[in-house]
Symmetry: C2
Subunit: 405 residues, 2 copies
């Protein structure tokens, strides 16, 4: 099951950004592995990063740059094929050299450059290869759909297709455009890592305003999905606002419209990422309801979503609610099993801790579809969470166990 | 890779116990699915149970019985093929009926019977089938190696072989025998669950003394292993002491000898269980060292042992230390990646957070063996833990995703 990529015609391009890509030979395949965005003067930025204590060099450099400029970004440089992670002080220097090289070329300060890397861990970044391609990369910038499509392809590693989404809304006579580009699907390939998400919009906002919006939306989307439970060392979500629409984020009714557009884009990207997970055959929309807090709902959702037994049952479209109940039981919350009910597709399969008569074939059929909803009702309160996850197939194992010396 | 079962000749039989088995038709295969131990009068007992909040009926009944008798057990009745879990109040009654039936037959009180069930979740226990076999079961009891071997087979579900271990030590002119029987390998089969461990010895001890010994040993063995990270609803470790050796546990130097014998038996059973995990090709002995506490060492060990990316890398004998470092990084402890070193087999592969030059072929070869040691040095303190775990193979997924309506 694969969600179709959105056709490029429907993509709306925010004003103030230009994109390009190049092949620097970092990927052995020779495919594009270098991508650039240039943003107009005055662009505001906000970012969220992986919570892993092991972080790649570009995250340290990018975080410091954002702090130094107080949320101003003029260019984003991404390389795929090498994560520049676990590379020590040399990795930091390598990243800084790339930023300095690009800054010279674009007549910017190095701290206005935001760097990202994705790919193999523990291998030195081939700085010279990257530097030699920067003039070509800079010259090739286009503020077109073609440009953004090339950018989306160049940041791919094990992705089978580029991931794009956009939304727009009107405020008075002006239109605000929100565009998102993403790569990755958890840490799903030998030594390859990372989810990278770049969000571009032409609203006018301060970095602080952007940060508040981004945190809320990321919590509901990218933080509510899991393929294999592993957290990348390079995960980054960056939001840039050029201000070119002339619409200010703090105008009446705009915050709600903007958050909603941002949410729509991020939800679509999250779904595209999860559907493109290696070996994924079934996407599961897990609703954990009747929790006493969102935190405990998330705890149950994560435990169920990461249970090997649950995930393998989903691979077989097996309506084995006992495994779901058992996973919820070990999630660490003060669960009373006698209050838990479970619904698969449109049928209750377990009511208050006891299995109920249900049409097993119908449940199997529901789970056989590319996408199925499962509800877990905890009987503890009124909080809930929606969590996107996947099955675990033998194909996933085959891909990730594949090793040849 | 499968560890050979210990030959039956080397098994030593503690005095005071007799064993039998029967086929009650709970397993569709018709294989033995009912097992009985009778213990002599005065036998002390202690048990540890699953920490899952969802627990099967026999655990509730058994726990209550142990409390009522203050740690006295005269018989253990085990059925395989049905877990009697998520069966509500009817499940509790079913379990009580079995205990009452056996108590009448053996002229005991029902609370002197300790029940266990293992198998499918959510299906009513076929009480009548069990009751009808009790006379045969009781009549067939043998205090022989054959008896214990039959018992070990009857409690199997997806196990490919029975699991037995024993040890003995001398105190004065007397010999103390410790015998262990186990089944299971995590929750590794569709709707089947449970690790069950029965430990028999002929030492003389109070239930409180036994409990202290058992807790310490279980923490170091059964609580330091993981195949898939799922916790069964039925996990039980029961220790019975008949007193027939005449050696008292509180005599000088006996506590140390006894703990050591018990540890030896439990370590062997833990290894037998993990090696028999479905689809397991490589057993990994994970040492997490230089932690600031055992708790944090365990947290890192569990996160690494449950990482799909790490486990699939092990399946491919891939010395991908980046995945191990990344998993440690998200374990929740205040890790400083720049202090972490990782050793695979006899080689350091990552020193203070940075990859070091190592012979990749040799590391691959070490991981290709049935058993390999991996050390993670956190650089935070002096505490450590040894944790037994396994790779994750496509075969595991195939077995657990296998479903036919």
């Amino acid at each position: 099951m694969k969600l179709r990529g959105r056709p490029l015609e429907n993509i709306c391009l925010p004003a103030g950004f230009s994109f390009s890509s190049a092949s620097a030979g970092i990927k052995a395949s020779g495919r594009p592995d270098l991508a650039l965005v240039e943003a107009c003067a005055g662009t505001s930025a906000a970012a969220v990063f992986t919570k892993n204590r092991v972080v790649a060099a570009p995250l340290e450099v990018g975080r410091a740059a954002l702090a130094a400029t107080r949320g101003r970004v003029r260019a984003v440089i991404v390389n795929s094929g090498n994560a520049n992670c676990a590379t020590g002080a040399a990795g930091i220097r390598a990243c800084q050299e790339v930023c300095a090289g690009l800054a010279r070329l674009l007549k910017l300060s190095a701290s206005e450059i935001f760097p990202s890397s994705t790919g193999i861990i523990g291998i030195p970044l081939p700085v010279e290869k990257i530097l030699s391609r920067l003039p070509e990369l800079s010259a090739g910038r286009k503020a077109t759909k073609r440009g953004i499509a090339d950018f989306a392809r160049a940041i791919m590693t094990t992705d089978t297709r580029p991931k794009l989404a956009s939304a727009r809304f009107c405020s008075g006579k002006s239109t605000v455009n929100v565009l998102g580009v993403a790569k990755g699907a958890g840490m799903i390939h030998p030594q390859l890592a990372t989810m990278l998400v770049y969000l571009f919009c032409d609203i006018s906002a301060t970095p602080n305003q952007l940060r508040r919006c981004l945190k809320g939306v990321a919590y509901q989307t990218f933080n509510c999905m899991s393929i294999d439970g592993d957290t990348s060392t390079n995960d980054t979500v960056l939001l840039l606002a050029s201000g070119r629409s002339g619409v200010r984020l703090n105008s009446p009714s705009v915050p709600r419209s903007f958050s909603s557009a941002l949410l729509q884009v991020c939800e679509s990207l999250a779904k595209q990422i999860i559907s493109d997970g290696e070996g994924v055959e079934h996407v599961i929309i897990l609703s954990v309801e009747e929790a006493s807090s969102t935190t405990e709902a998330r705890q149950v959702a994560e435990t169920v979503a990461h249970s090997l037994l649950v995930k393998t049952a989903w691979a077989g479209a097996d309506p084995n609610w006992g495994r779901i109940l058992a996973a919820a039981g070990r999630s660490g919350i003060a669960l009373n099993p006698a209050k838990v009910s479970i619904q698969i597709g449109d049928q209750m399969v377990c009511r208050r801790g006891v299995g109920c008569a249900f049409d097993e074939k119908r449940a199997h059929k529901a789970l056989s579809r590319p996408q199925c909803e499962i509800r877990i009702l905890l009987g503890r309160g009124r909080k809930s969470i929606r969590f996107l996850t996947t099955d675990l197939t033998a194909e996933y194992v085959r891909i990730n166990a594949d090793y040849s010396t």
